[in-house]
Each structure stands twice: as structure tokens, then as C-alpha cells.
């Protein structure tokens, strides 16, 4: 039962960040395609945004272990 709960915790926790990272990367690729010279600054901002969103998925990963072993 704990294993099932842990699996659900992580799989649900990835849903939001997954679509969010998709949107971030999609928009970055769009803007680089429109303005290739802005690639440097867009890439930095993209990685920063992805890092913020990914933090949520990583917290889900931590909760996975918490639910499984605690």
C-alpha cells in the first residue's frame, strides 16, 4: 500500500511540472526561431525557469522516499 501511495505521489507530482517545462521550452524555441540573435539570453532565462519549475517535481521525488520509507 505504501508503495502504491508513493508511486501515486511521484506520478501526480510530475504532471504539472511536465506540462510547465513543455510550455517553457516551446516558447523559448519559438522566440529563438523568431530572433536567432537572442539565443544567449533566452537560453539563460529558459534554464532558470525550468529550474524553478523542476523544483516542484524534485520535491515530489523527495516525498516519494518519505512516503515509502517513513
Amino acid at each position: 500500500m505504501e508503495a502504491l501511495a508513493a508511486a501515486l505521489v511521484y506520478s501526480i507530482a510530475t504532471l504539472g511540472p511536465a506540462s510547465a517545462i513543455g510550455v517553457i521550452v516551446m516558447k523559448s524555441v519559438e522566440s529563438v526561431a523568431r530572433q536567432p540573435e537572442s539565443e544567449g539570453s533566452v537560453r539563460g532565462l529558459m534554464i532558470l525557469g525550468v529550474a524553478f519549475v523542476e523544483a516542484l517535481a524534485i520535491l515530489g521525488f523527495v516525498l516519494f522516499f518519505v512516503v515509502l520509507f517513513a
Binding site: G40, G44, I47, L48, A51, F61, V62
Partner: protein, 276 residues
């Protein structure tokens, strides 16, 4: 781990081992009792790999830049293009013109993390030390200390003031903004930095182990009470897939080392930036 392998080879009941068994190694005989103030200093394979990484990196850079010439030798060429890659792709875009000052720090972090990750695919070792939480956590603490010190040096007390109380907001919003900024800047950033690397390495190591065990078990003994002829196709499929798995892991370890470095640079750059 050994128990599972033996059960596969000689039959008998077996179960999937706890994940810890893949990453835990006993101390090397003769070093078990070593300790200072109750902290164990026992040397195991992970510790040996850390020392090996330090020695390899130091030897590489010392050898390649010992007598630098205008027309570079092969090793010097490699080292120079490596440093230039970090400067042009990480330091200058993320930090700005002052990024050159942090180039040694960022280059060291990238080389160290990359080499420790690379041990995952080195034949005969096949274990990434970065999949033990201690190493990513320590590196993240170093990065945290670096960007806090840099921010305080560059901007003095206004670093904390501008970070915790971003100027230009209505007064009542600070009730919400300040705790979020505190948590995000000084807790979540280093924690996620460490766990991102750690989780990717754990997952990759499990993937590699599962691929290799599948090949071993399904091609040599058969499993789940099935005869060997029934499991051979799966073993062959895993054998064909294993180069792809290894290539994928090579990509992952490079990308993770790069992301660790670029995020360190971004955090340093954010700490140095003046608020407008």
C-alpha cells in the same frame, strides 16, 4: 545484490533487493575503525573514487598547462577548449563580464561532477559517487556559500534587503513575498541543486543495473521458472538495447554536470545583480 545474483544463478526464492544495496559498500578491510570525534572515516569504494577524481583532474590540468606554448600541444588544446567552452557557454552569458573571475570555480565544478558521473559508465567501476547524497549536498553547500558571500561582498547589506524585500512592491505583499523569497533563495535552490543531480544519478544507475542483470539472467539461466529458450528473445533484445542505454546515460551525465554548473553560475549572477 550478491544474494539476488546468486539466486538467479542457482535457483531458489529471491526478491527484488532494496535500492540501498546497489549503492552501499562495506569499508575496505583495515579502515573500519578509523574515526575522529565519533565521525567515521572508513574508506570504501565511493571515497576511493572521490580521491581518484581529484587526482585525475589535478594531473590532467597540471600536465596540460605545465609548459604552455603559443602553439598548443594536444593536451593543452583539450584543456584550453574545455575552459573556453565553460567561459563562452556558462560564465559570460550567466554572470556577465565579471564571469571571468568565477571561471576557475565553474570549471572545477564541471570537471569534478562530470568525472564523478563518468564513473557510472567506466568498466570495472560502474558506480557514480554522485548517487550518494553526501557529494551533491556538499557541492550545493559550497555553491550556496559562494553566492551568498559574493552577493554580500558586491552589494553589502543591501543584498539581504533586496533579496528578502524586493523593492517596488505594495507594502502588504511583503507578508507573502518575504517568506517565499527566503525559502526559495536560501533553502530550495541548494536543495534542488543537490537532489536534481542525485536523483538523476540514482535513476541512471538503476537503469544500467537492470539492463545488465536482464542480459545476464535471461541469456544464461532463464527466470521465473521459464526454460532458457523462452527468455532468450528478451535477453537478446536487452543486449541490443544496451548500447542505446549506455549512450543515453552518457548524454544524461554530461547534461547533468552542465546544468549543475550553469545553475551555479546563474545563482552567482543573480546574487551580483543590482536591483533596479
Amino acid at each position: 545484490m550478491q544474494g539476488t545474483l546468486a539466486a538467479i544463478d542457482y535457483g531458489g526464492p529471491w526478491e527484488v533487493p532494496p535500492i540501498n544495496e546497489l549503492f552501499d559498500f562495506p569499508a575496505i578491510p583495515g579502515t573500519e575503525g578509523w574515526e575522529i570525534l565519533g565521525v567515521s572515516l572508513a574508506v570504501n569504494r565511493t571515497v576511493l573514487m572521490i580521491f581518484a577524481a581529484v587526482i585525475i583532474i589535478a594531473a590532467f590540468f597540471w600536465h596540460s598547462t605545465r609548459d604552455a606554448t603559443v602553439v598548443p600541444s594536444k593536451a593543452q588544446n583539450l584543456a584550453e577548449s574545455f575552459v573556453e567552452l565553460i567561459r563562452n557557454e556558462v560564465a559570460l552569458p550567466s554572470i556577465g563580464p565579471e564571469g571571468n573571475k568565477f571561471l576557475p570555480f565553474l570549471t572545477t565544478i564541471f570537471a569534478y561532477v562530470f568525472l564523478l558521473n563518468l564513473f557510472k559508465l567506466t568498466p570495472g567501476i560502474m558506480l557514480p559517487p554522485t548517487s550518494r547524497m553526501a557529494i551533491p549536498a556538499f557541492l550545493a553547500v559550497v555553491v550556496l556559500a559562494t553566492y551568498v558571500v559574493v552577493g554580500v561582498r558586491k552589494r553589502g547589506g543591501s543584498y539581504f534587503k533586496d533579496t528578502l524585500f524586493p523593492p517596488g512592491l505594495p507594502l502588504w505583499t511583503y507578508v507573502i513575498v518575504t517568506p517565499i523569497e527566503l525559502l526559495s533563495n536560501f533553502v530550495l535552490r541548494p536543495v534542488t541543486l543537490a537532489i536534481r543531480l542525485f536523483a538523476n544519478m540514482v535513476a541512471g544507475h538503476i537503469l544500467v543495473v537492470l539492463t545488465l542483470i536482464t542480459i545476464h539472467a535471461f541469456l544464461t539461466v532463464g527466470l521465473f521458472g521459464e526454460p532458457l529458450s523462452a527468455t532468450t528473445p528478451i535477453g537478446v533484445a536487452a543486449l541490443i538495447a544496451s548500447p542505446a542505454v549506455f549512450a543515453f546515460e552518457l548524454l544524461i551525465i554530461t547534461v547533468q554536470a552542465f546544468i549543475f554548473t550553469i545553475l551555479s553560475a546563474v545563482y552567482i549572477g543573480l546574487a551580483m545583480q543590482e536591483e533596479h
